[in-house]
Subunit: 121 residues, 2 copies
Amino acid sequence: MPTKTRPRVLADLPLATPTQACCAPGASEPMSRENAEDLAVLLKAVADPARLQLISLIRSSANCEACVCDLTDAMGLSQPTISHHLRVLTSAGVLSREQRGTWAWFTLNPKRLKEISRLLI
Amino acid sequence: MPTKTRPRVLADLPLATPTQACCAPGASEPMSRENAEDLAVLLKAVADPARLQLISLIRSSANCEACVCDLTDAMGLSQPTISHHLRVLTSAGVLSREQRGTWAWFTLNPKRLKEISRLLI
DNA sequence: TGTCTATATTGACAGACATCAATGTATTTG
DNA sequence: CAAATACATTGATGTCTGTCAATATAGACA
């Protein structure tokens, strides 16, 4: 069974709220350990060269989608390794998986990437 | 001697250029392994709960600056561990270090965080 | 049904990393 | 100079993780 887990949405707690200039007096509350751990899990999913390349490969493919075989050919890694990375990205909500016959097609979730990006600022 | 290394600036190669809608035909080139590794190093520096909390703590401090002792008190970790994390963040360009007498003060580099954030999108 | 193809899972292993205790270094202060 | 304080470095340890070979699963097709 393919991993379809949607990650729980992080509390709306970026490192600072966009409206505030850096260090307005009495600024934002420091991030809790729990929120920091959640965000770290998200960032770790993306902070890997192979996974960044996979994202980039899918993005530059037609329709922003690719199947595992294409990705395995393009990267210099074994098929199980590619499968592993795709699972990590899918669990993090960065990719979506769709089964078409024997093939598994993966597409980008741009919203998720933007969300991660936003939480950083 | 404190680590003052400025990381080399990543090539201007976000996962996709902002002007392009996702998957315009003949879109962006896939990211090279080398660029992916550089970006991964950057992201890994931030993808840690303790370091995210440190960033958040500094951001919510007066003047966006804090010394090691304050940070050590606020986090539940040993002083060498805090020192280690601060070094990682400084090496990644996310923090700047300034010596004032016995104290070492760390400040944020918001531009660097924005750069990381931009490369993700 | 049986074979082939595409993908997932398992198990193992090596390298990376977060953490701490102990120690070193440098600055301030008495 | 001596003691105390603030921070960095070293060395050790346990955990996490990226990778692959081997195997399992499942759909397509003859």
